[in-house]
């Protein structure tokens, strides 16, 4: 049952709402849709869920209008996409930029709605007849709702029909839903992202796995392989009781005793071997980046060199069209340009799923737009993509950490930052860099060694603390990290430190017990900033890491509002030359801004993300 249908301009003015269904919507679904979906460049998705509602939308890019339909999530109305299309067409005939209210459209809408509902009913009846249900439910039950449909279809615009249909669909869950997906409709493109939003049904997920291969389910595969590794390693120890040192042919046997290199220095460390890293220069966070100005002509030349075999006829017609300004951009026109753009993004190490979604979003925003004269299609697409990328990488909230630290200082409590991430990304190293930067700005820092698992983690942090001359709170190994963190924060409150940096052990995103331990740490201590440390070398796994981390943090949180990842620290940035796509994948999938960028192994190698430079590099 359609709850509401709205037409509004991109500038924010509502032009028309359906007055027949005068239901007030709970909450503010439209605003949430705009803020978390359309402005986040997810306009290529099929639908958006908010509370008990599902929203579907379509754009008229030429006139700058947005059409949104809201309906109850449990009902799966087939005719919504169809209806949106028809409404779009008929409204664009009536639309006039000067007219602000369109009361005469009510009548037209009522007709369109009845048509759409009738068509939806027909389609459903055809499906129910043609596709036999795989013994999930009996035939008898199918016949009954059919009879019910015939009775009530002439009644109140398919109300009863929809409810009964709801029953049918809940019975024939997986199958029916898949059919919906397959036959989907005028506007909608199916992509796995959109479907994840709908009511998760295992059957449909498995079917998708089968049909689309294991794209995006890399995590699943990885869990299996990790499991198998564990299995095989467990088999080995029972065989050998003790481990004999392997003798290599070229090594002299007497060198075996000298393999233990630990100093005889005790835990506090001898003072003579300490070099205090007091002043290694300004942290690169405080230096401005010099942008190299390259002209656009370079890009054009490169592109034309790459494809010398472009069809002459295609080039000539595109030039002709660019001069005259073709009427409307169609999807077929945009496809080649978008495909090339997607390939280019993927060569820059953007995850495949993200590149796909971005291209769909740009396509949705350009379709139907009039091409300005003297512009090529590819340059229009490039411009739209550039805008979209800048919009994604611009932080949604302020990333002024200094301000937050001062605010916490006023409240007389320490500002707690927790560093999380998978193994080996550089958490401890970058923690030290952040401590150095904060110290340079006269903020008193304290480290908390909550990595109680990895050998040498506590010593590593101790060395950094000694060099930077900041206090460290540690309890050794094999302790509960959540408790260690809690005590560290209490200690910091006692001795008046401004910031507490908490180092945690690296963990794979699929490791259930470790993720549970991490969310316990976060729930217990309620840090001010949860910083996800990710390396810039990561490829498609970034998507999986971040989404799993966020999911586990929200699933396993005890209190009402769950803490998710608040910021991203991108490390090993100096190892990638221009393949900067990991930044984009991470920001897109999590919505968290990139707060720091680590670009080297010394204390001063910490920068801020330069959005324009990244966008330029991505689109070069």
């Amino acid at each position: 049952m359609l709850e509401q249908l709205l037409i509004f301009t991109r500038g924010g003015l509502i032009l028309w709402t359906c007055k027949e269904i005068g239901n007030a919507l709970k909450g503010s679904p439209i605003d949430t849709l705009i803020r978390s979906c359309l402005l986040e460049e997810r306009s290529g998705e099929v639908s958006f869920n908010y509370g008990a509602y599902t929203l579907k939308w379509t754009f008229h890019n030429d006139l700058g209008l947005v059409f949104v339909a809201v309906y109850q999530r449990i009902l799966q109305l087939l005719y919504v996409d169809d209806l949106l299309c028809m409404v779009k067409e008929s409204f664009s005939e009536v639309y006039d930029p000067k007219v602000m209210s369109y009361d005469e459209f009510d009548e037209r809408f009522r007709q369109l709605r009845m048509e759409a509902e009738a068509r939806g009913e027909e389609m459903r009846k055809v499906k129910v007849k043609v596709k036999p249900l795989n013994g999930v439910k009996k035939q008898g039950k199918v016949l009954k709702p059919e009879g019910g449909n015939k009775k009530e279809s002439d009644g109140d615009g398919g109300d009863g029909g929809d409810e009964v249909k709801g029953n049918v669909s809940s019975l024939t869950n997986g199958n029916h839903k898949m059919e919906d997906d397959d036959d989907c409709v005028v506007n909608g493109k199916e992509n796995s992202g959109g479907d994840d939003n709908n009511v998760g049904v295992d059957v449909s997920k498995l079917a998708k796995l089968r049909s689309k291969g294991v794209r995006g389910r890399g995590g699943l595969r990885k869990a299996e392989s990790v499991g198998s590794n564990k299995g095989s390693s467990k088999v080995e120890p029972p065989k050998k009781a003790t481990k004999k040192n392997r003798v290599w042919d070229d090594a002299a046997p007497k060198q075996q005793e000298k393999l233990d290199f630990t100093d005889s220095v005790d835990e506090n460390g001898g003072n003579d071997s300490v070099e205090v890293a007091a002043d290694q220069g300004e942290s690169m966070m405080d230096k401005e980046e010099v942008l190299s100005s390259e002209s656009e002509s370079d890009d054009d030349e490169q592109r034309s060199d790459e494809k010398p075999e472009a069809k002459k006829k295609g080039w000539f017609s595109s030039v002709f069209q660019s001069i005259t300004g073709k009427a409307n951009l169609e999807r077929t026109d945009l496809e080649p340009a978008l495909k090339a753009l997607k390939e280019r993004l993927m060569t820059k190490n953007v995850a495949e799923e993200i590149a796909e979604k971005l291209c769909e979003s740009v396509e949705a925003s350009l379709e139907g737009k009039k091409l300005a004269s003297f512009t090529r299609i590819s340059s229009t697409v490039q411009g739209a993509m550039e805008e979209a990328l800048i919009r994604i990488l611009t932080p949604r909230r302020s990333i002024d950490i200094m301000r937050d630290v001062h605010a916490a200082k006023e409240q007389r409590r320490p500002y707690v930052v927790v560093f999380v991430g998978v193994n080996g990304v550089g958490k401890s190293t970058n923690l030290a860099k952040v401590a150095y930067w904060l110290q340079q700005h006269k903020v008193s820092v304290m480290m908390a060694a909550c990595d109680t698992f990895r050998s040498g983690a506590v010593e590593q942090l101790r060395t950094h603390a000694r060099r930077l001359q900041i206090p460290i709170f540690e309890k050794g190994y094999e302790k509960d990290p959540a408790v260690v963190a809690k005590e560290a924060i209490q200690e910091a409150t006692r001795n008046g430190s401004d910031v507490v940096l908490v180092d945690t052990a690296g963990r794979m995103q699929d490791n259930e017990p470790l993720m549970r331990a991490l969310s316990k740490l976060i729930n217990l201590n309620k840090p001010d900033l949860v910083l996800f440390v990710g390396e810039a070398l990561v490829g498609n796994d970034a998507v999986d890491q971040l989404s799993k981390f966020n999911q586990k943090l929200s699933d396993l949180s005890t209190s009402g509002n769950s803490r998710l990842i608040d910021g991203i620290l991108l490390t090993k940035f100096d190892t990638i030359d221009d393949k900067v796509g990991a930044a984009l994948s991470m920001v897109y999938i999590s919505g968290a801004p990139v707060m720091f960028v680590g670009c080297g192994q010394s204390y001063t190698d910490l920068k801020q993300l330069n959005v324009k430079a990244i966008v330029k590099t991505l689109l070069k």
Binding site: L6, F8, R10, G11, G12, L13, I14, L15, W16, T17, I30, D31, I34, R35, L38, L39, E40, G64, M100, S101, E282, M285, D286, K287, E288, I390, R391, I392, T394, P395, R396, R397, S398, D400, M402, R403, H406, A407, Q440, H441, K442
Partner: protein, 260 residues
Amino acid sequence: MEKLEDLKIVAEQWWNQGIEYLQKIPPNQLYAAIGVLLFTTVLLLLSFRLVRRTKSNTVLLSGLTGSGKTVLFYQLRDGSSHQGTVTSMEPNEGTFIFHTENSKKGKIKPVHLVDVPGHSRLRPKLEEFLPQAAAIVFVVDALEFLPNCRAASEYLYDILTNANVVKKKIPVLLCCNKTDKLTAHTKEFIRKQMEKEIEKLRASRSAVSTADIANDFTIGIEGEVFSFSHCGNKVTVAEASGLNGETVQIQDFIREYIKP
């Protein structure tokens, strides 16, 4: 006296010579020359006039998302906010005279009003419009002021320290919207809170080293608590209510800088 007469005789001789010379030139050329002369003088006069009148008539409506800018825009233009608004994704622009001024006779200069979206992801759009602005109206939600106080003050700080605003001394109106509601704060309270927050921002932003300043300038006087009177450009405070149509103070402010 003799010298004068001598000068007179010399002048007369020159005059006669000039007339003889002129009479020798064919009349067409003469007319053409006079025409070109007139034309260039007219052109020069016009260009002087244009150079003098580059004063733009652009007014920016900015503020956080949800503060009521789009409602105010349509109130000023049409006198009503029609059927409501949602979060803007693109700027609303229009050149018009105010709805309340429709009844006045005579030629009133229209105002180019731009409503810039307040969502943080669309912040760069404001930078596009700042160079052409003659005045800025910063809209603040007086109802939900305290939860958004920090974000609003950061936005206002960024505007006040922008290079264009400082150099051209663009006047800013801090407009407290939604004052028709009972629990809305007063404009004095809002002004004091904003001044306090900006003072804190001044302290924290200047603590960062000189190369890192994201803002081009600092505002206020060193050593004194920040107050809006310290700004080079004029900052005033006003109240308004978008839904009720009380936009008189905004209109007065705009008309102060864009003479009708």
